[in-house]
Symmetry: C2
Subunit: 123 residues, 2 copies
Amino acid sequence: MTVSEPDVYDRMCPSRGVLEHVTSRWGVLVLAALRDRGYRFGELRRRIDGVSEKMLAQTLQTLERDGFVHRKAHPVIPPRVDYSLTPLGTEAAELVTGLVEWIERRLPQVESARELHGARREG
Amino acid sequence: MTVSEPDVYDRMCPSRGVLEHVTSRWGVLVLAALRDRGYRFGELRRRIDGVSEKMLAQTLQTLERDGFVHRKAHPVIPPRVDYSLTPLGTEAAELVTGLVEWIERRLPQVESARELHGARREG
């Protein structure tokens, strides 16, 4: 049996799907937030401005299924669920955080590029 | 005037939009592919399995506007357009490629996690 190497450029390769989970709109922010510390669901929702309850639950489920996020439900009333990163998730989160921090740092350059681009189109 | 630091967790911060461009479904793959070399439009479309002409054009336009991609139209018949990374885009592409390569490398672990997750749900 020949098993080919994972290749995200191939749409049939399962690595493409994993890439989409990790880089999804909310997946990126969930991984980056959980890199700082564990969060309860409601806390995480407040941390990530703009995410809906439904999208956050779906994102956490996907990342849990891929082995990046650990979900711990405490048998208490009211229910309490904590989310944290697995060792595999921590590796992903480090790479994602590198990208997030780079974007925050480079925002001025991106904004200059946009101004220049707008000026060229008008000029 | 107080200017707050860029913060991707804030939905009003422009860095959130840049993050979404860089981590978009096709943005990731365009940046990673262009890190290897410059591409013509059609070549790039063949490299990135599954992307439509429309989505590739839109992704390239967004990345060009943000200052990551340089577009060079040659005045020849038939028209020829080359795409390459700017220095800013090269930085982004390095971070993105680190993530892509990590995912390809870690795919077996993700697949094991998925099997375990499925087994736990059934058991």
